[in-house]
Amino acid sequence: MRPVIPYVTAALLFGLGVYGVLRRRNAVLVLMAVELMLNAVNLILVTADTTAKALLPHGGQVFALFVIVLAAAEIGVGLAIVLQLYRMRASVAVDEVPLAERPADEPVPVAVGPAGVTTDGPSGVADGPAGGGANPPETGRPEGDR
């Protein structure tokens, strides 16, 4: 077996993957090109496993399995992002994604903290004397016992 054959195949596949990532506009096609690159790395790992002597046997194949798992995780999260992008913009062209501006449907932060405190505060104070010992708030309990 000439190890140069799978190595050159893997190098060409990686180059094609890089080309695809840079060339394609559709995000799904970009993900496909990323898969090509990951597979090129896998081929390198498996070939190195059969051709090179390592301290631990079959380390290359184990790493190839790990890369496959990583690719599965990557494709899951990547497709979730792509579908969310499609839902927001009705397009998956990667060069139309505005990276600098805020998304249109994300509103400016509103201050709601004081409102929550003021609605919670009077109710707790009012419940304290009225509820007596049945009420869990500790501020109301000594007043009810007296």
């Binding site: 180059g15 993900l31 994300e106």
Partner: protein, 187 residues
């Protein structure tokens, strides 16, 4: 050239040819199907290289799951069935960089290995790989399972529109930043 070399050359030619079609075709669905051909040829190369388990995992996970997910994404984004002209950017920088990377790596590896010959080891069974995975590599294996779980949770949080969005209802519970709200809810 022995029979193994001929097989490797043939499968490599199929893989590279279909990879060219993946990055060059104008049909979205055909790109996914050419990807199936490319990954299948790679699985054949793994078999020839005596990596049996990796080959079958490749068929199961890549050809079975990843490509199906990609085709689902093609359908869910309402891709046109026929050829579409807006898939590509102007390609000279991409061709330059991609060709440079591919040919550079190929030249490097050719220079490193020349035309040397290596004896193939006997076909590796799943038993030996399993011993390695659960022996020497058991800690990375467990870390990888945690990573898969977090990727799963992340994908769910990303694809549910009612988590982390619509701060009118949720800002009292959590921060208004969608990322922070998503992480807070998923915990």
């Amino acid at each position: 050239m022995t029979g193994v070399d001929v097989l490797l050359v043939a499968l490599g030619a199929v893989a590279v040819g279909s990879a060219v079609l993946v990055v060059a075709t104008k049909h979205l669905v055909r790109a996914g199907l050419y990807l199936v051909v490319c990954l299948g040829a790679l699985a054949g190369m793994y078999l020839v290289l005596s990596a049996e388990l990796v080959a079958w995992v490749q068929v199961l996970i890549y050809v079975g799951a990843v490509v199906v997910l990609l085709l689902f994404a093609v359908m869910l984004t309402r891709a046109p069935i026929g050829a579409s002209d807006d898939l590509d950017r102007p390609g000279w920088p991409a061709a330059l960089i991609g060709g440079g990377v591919g040919l550079g790596l190929a030249a490097l590896l050719v220079d490193a290995y020349r035309w040397t010959k290596v004896e193939l080891p006997e076909a590796g069974t799943a038993e030996r790989i399993g011993e390695q995975v659960f022996g020497s590599w058991v800690l990375p294996f467990e870390v990888l399972s945690v990573l898969l779980l977090s990727a799963l949770v992340g994908a769910i949080v990303l694809s549910r529109p009612d988590i982390g969005r619509s701060p009118g209802r949720q800002s009292a519970v959590d921060g208004v930043d969608s990322d922070g709200a998503g992480r807070g809810r998923s915990r």
